[in-house]
Symmetry: C2
Subunit: 337 residues, 2 copies
DNA sequence: ATGAAAGCGCTAACAA
DNA sequence: TTGTTAGCGCTTTCAT
């Protein structure tokens, strides 16, 4: 395992002092050393196959060039694009990301957070924000640098990169309104998440604007199962059924598909459905899903940028970067029957 | 940022020598120190909120408790489960995974590999194996510990955890045979990957056994686009068309869906399709996809186990762990017309 | 422009 | 059982 040649070996071969080698090999200090010496050091390094030991450097500089990325679950399809977006910004700067999954457990998150602190990560990107998110608050008090991505934690003053949830819901509603829908239910995500809250709030206010008879029904989780269970309830209760549902995200929308199917109802003929996120392959579902595309990759990249600004320049660029979203109309929405 | 109290602070507070603190706080050496002292050290540590600096420890022990995971692309839906499987085995042991994406570029892979070596990772898990995989060969020669997951690199003697590709193809073919299909084409993955090769080979040999008129057509990539383009070619050439296609993976199968649709053909009425992997949401496609489920999570966990055995005990447990797969019959396959 | 020397925080071999 | 000492490989201040 590992790089064998050390800076001392290079120094010996180049006939200079180790300190000089260090200076010659670092961009920032290279100018302090004679160009000719730099050349000698470089070729000695190449000859020995020298590569710096970043652990040793990290100990000395107390920076690990590593950031911790805390997400609920990598197998939720919105996270891979976010993670890749993060990485796309970090990698060229020499940072690595260590991503860990909490599976929604605060306790797991706390453990993972502490273990990453021990590893001297230079900062955190949290995709786990929610209203009682004490870990973020704690991080802030300890002076640890961090940013939120996708969701934010109410009351925690870290910068955040989020999608324009309100706009997405507004566009969904306009689309549905144009198709003639006037009785619509919103399957809201579980409480405590900024995404759930903002989407539900803008659903309510936009329904009022458009004169739509809107109803908000809470789900227990952002999952297919929760979407199906909740929709089952809606379909099995007495009274007229909605002609359309605006789901809190694509997983919930998929659950709605399932529920509709088991009730012998067809989408969009009987009920139109709009999702949120435009997760990968949403266009391959049955029917292809009309949904709001959130720019997950860019959200990740933006979050990384915000974090690096904090780490390297102690700059808190913007408290909240809101990226635009776009309604993708496919086949799960149609004119009201 | 970061843990402020050092081992020296704890030593001072507990009235002992730093060396003793180190021993008291490490499981393996704890027995060498007086239980009463251990208690004193522990409470001093707690009082100061001491957490060990793992960079310093890493420098001293020349181990980073980190492993590098090299994959093509996290947004390919088979990788998140693999990564989570890896993590499920690693995390309890105190290891972290750093995952990087090559996007299929050998050059990118080499760069990422070197940067992880610099970071003193204790080993690698490669999900990027292919026939000319020089990086793995190089790693082996440098004495770097590694394992392959999902695919292996022909000729590189690292252990590998893979699915039983041959079994999967055999089951697909039996299923199709039972439905009456006798003219079947296999959309093979691109050359150079063990998965492509093994699947194609067992397709050919099993067709011979069953008396099926089988044909192998190569694709350019494991992607939806490549699947669609290749199927377009097949449908547009003269002569009878196959009644079924066995796709090299689910992405290719999805491409086949698209091609069928643009040609006004229906699945499974006109052409049956079988995928491979059972990627997330394969059951929600139109039609729900019949496919071979590969145990990706377990593959990841197994790979991690193999790697840790090498790292901690220099044991090369098994050269090749082959995990069973299972045909999941859904609605993309039906009786021949 | 370069050398000398100290030290980041920890562990481990040796001594007592 | 505990203290002493040295040093992992690097950067950086201070001299020169």
């Amino acid at each position: 395992m590992s790089s064998r040649a050390t800076i001392a070996d290079v120094a010996r071969l180049a006939g200079v002092h180790p300190g000089t080698v260090s200076r010659a090999l670092n961009r920032k200090t290279e100018s302090q050393v004679n160009p000719e010496t730099v050349g000698r050091v470089r070729s000695a390094a190449k000859q020995l196959g020298y590569t710096p030991n970043s652990i040793a450097r990290g100990l000395r500089t107390s920076s690990s060039m590593t950031v911790g990325v805390i997400i609920p679950d990598l197998t939720n399809p919105i996270f891979p694009p976010i993670v890749r977006g993060i990485d796309s910004h970090l990698a060229p700067l020499g940072y690595s990301a260590v991503v860990v999954n909490t599976d929604g457990s605060d306790q797991a998150e706390r453990l993972l957070f502490e273990s990453l602190v021990q590893r001297q990560v230079d900062g955190f990107i949290f995709a786990t924000g929610h209203s009682g998110h004490s870990i973020a608050g704690e991080a802030y008090e300890r002076g640890i640098r961090a940013v939120m991505v996708n969701r934010d934690s109410r009351g925690v003053p870290f910068p955040a990169a989020v999608g324009d949830d309100a706009q997405g819901i507004r566009e969904s509603l306009h689309h549905l309104w144009n198709l003639g829908h006037r009785r619509i239910v919103h399957l809201a995500g579980p409480p405590g998440f900024s995404t759930s809250q903002i989407r539900a709030e803008s659903f309510v206010s936009e329904c009022a604007v458009l004169g739509i008879q809107g109803e908000v029904v809470q789900t227990a989780a952002y999952s297919v199962e929760a979407g199906q269970a909740t929709m089952d309830l809606i379909l099995e209760r007495p009274g007229p059924r909605p002609s359309a549902v605006v789901a809190g995200n694509d997983l919930l929308a998929l659950g709605v598909y399932h529920s509709l199917r088991t009730h012998g109802l067809r989408c969009p003929d009987d009920v139109s459905v709009v999702g949120f996120n435009d997760m990968p392959f949403a266009g391959d579902f049955q029917p292809p899903m009309t949904t709001v595309r959130a720019p997950h990759f860019e959200l990740g990249a933006e979050a990384a940028r915000l974090l690096v600004n904090q780490i390297e320049h102690s700059i808190l660029t913007a408290l909240r970067v809101v990226l635009p979203v776009e309604l993708i109309v496919r086949a799960s929405t149609g004119p009201v029957a």
